[in-house]
Symmetry: C2
Subunit: 152 residues, 2 copies
C-alpha cells in the first residue's frame, strides 16, 4: 500500500489522532459544564458524538504510537478498510453534531434576542467550535484513509 | 480510469444527479413556502446550500445526459478532480445544512413545548428530511468520484 505522511503508523497520523481526541474532550468538557445542555437534544447528540470520537481516535492514537515505537507497518488492506469505515462514520457524526449545535447557538445568539443562558453561552459556542475543529482533523484522516484504500 | 456504475457518463450517475436536484428543489420549496424561515440563520443556510446543490447537480446531470446520448467518455483525471472538489464541498454543506435545520426543528418539536409555528412545522420537518436525502445521494456520488480519482 501507499506510504506517505498521514498513513497509519506515521507521526502525522499519530498527531492527527491526538488532536482529534484533544478537541473532542475539550468540546465535551465545555458542554457538560453547562447546567442545561441535557434539555436540548442537539447538545446531547454533540456529547454522545464527541464521546464516540474520543474512544475511536484515542484507540487509533495508541495503535499509531505502538507502530511508531516498534517500527511496525500496520496498513494492510483489511485494517485500512476498518479504519475507513470508522473514520467516515465518526467524521459524519462529528459534522452533524457540530452543525446542529451551531445552528442552535446561532439561533440563540443572533436570531432571538440574545442568549439567555447567562455565562453558559460562551461555553456552548466554544463546545460547537471545538466540535468543528474535531471534524476538520478527523476529516483529514478520513480522506487519507479512503485514498490509500482506493489507491491500493 | 476505472469504469463502473456511478462513474461520470453512466446511467447510474445520471439518476443520482437527477435525484440530488429533485430532493434539493423539494427541500427549498418546503422551506421558502413557510413565512418565517428567513428569521432563522440555519434555515437561510439550508436554502442557500440546497440552491448551490441544485446548480451543481443539475449541471452535472446535463453533462451525464450528454455523455450518455453521444456515448462519449467524460472521465479524465482533470475533470474527475474537479467533480471530486465540487461534490465534497456541496456534500459537506448539505450535511451541515440538514443537521443544523434538524437541530432547530427537534428543539422546537421535542425540547420546547411543541412547535409554535402552526401548520408550518411540518414543512420545516420535511425540508430538513429532504436535505438529508439530498446529502445521502450526493454522498454516494462523492465517494464514487474520490474512489475513481484515487484508483486512477
Amino acid at each position: 500500500m501507499m506510504d506517505f505522511a498521514g498513513t497509519p503508523g506515521t507521526a502525522t497520523a499519530f498527531v492527527l489522532r491526538i488532536l482529534q481526541s484533544f478537541f473532542a474532550v475539550a468540546s465535551i468538557t465545555f458542554m457538560v459544564t453547562t447546567t442545561s445542555f441535557y434539555q436540548v437534544t442537539a447538545f446531547c447528540f454533540l456529547v454522545a458524538s464527541m464521546g464516540l470520537q474520543v474512544l475511536w481516535s484515542s484507540g487509533l492514537a495508541i495503535l499509531d504510537g505502538y507502530a511508531l515505537a516498534t517500527k511496525k507497518v500496520i496498513h494492510n488492506t483489511g485494517l485500512v478498510g476498518l479504519f475507513v469505515v470508522g473514520d467516515w462514520v465518526t467524521a459524519t457524526l462529528s459534522l452533524a453534531a457540530a452543525a446542529s449545535s451551531s445552528g442552535i447557538t446561532v439561533l440563540y445568539f443572533n436570531d432571538l434576542a440574545g442568549c439567555n443562558f447567562g455565562e453558559e453561552c460562551q461555553k456552548l459556542q466554544l463546545a460547537a467550535g471545538l466540535a468543528f475543529l474535531t471534524w476538520i482533523t478527523i476529516g483529514i484522516s478520513s480522506v487519507i484513509m479512503l485514498w490509500i484504500l482506493a489507491a491500493g
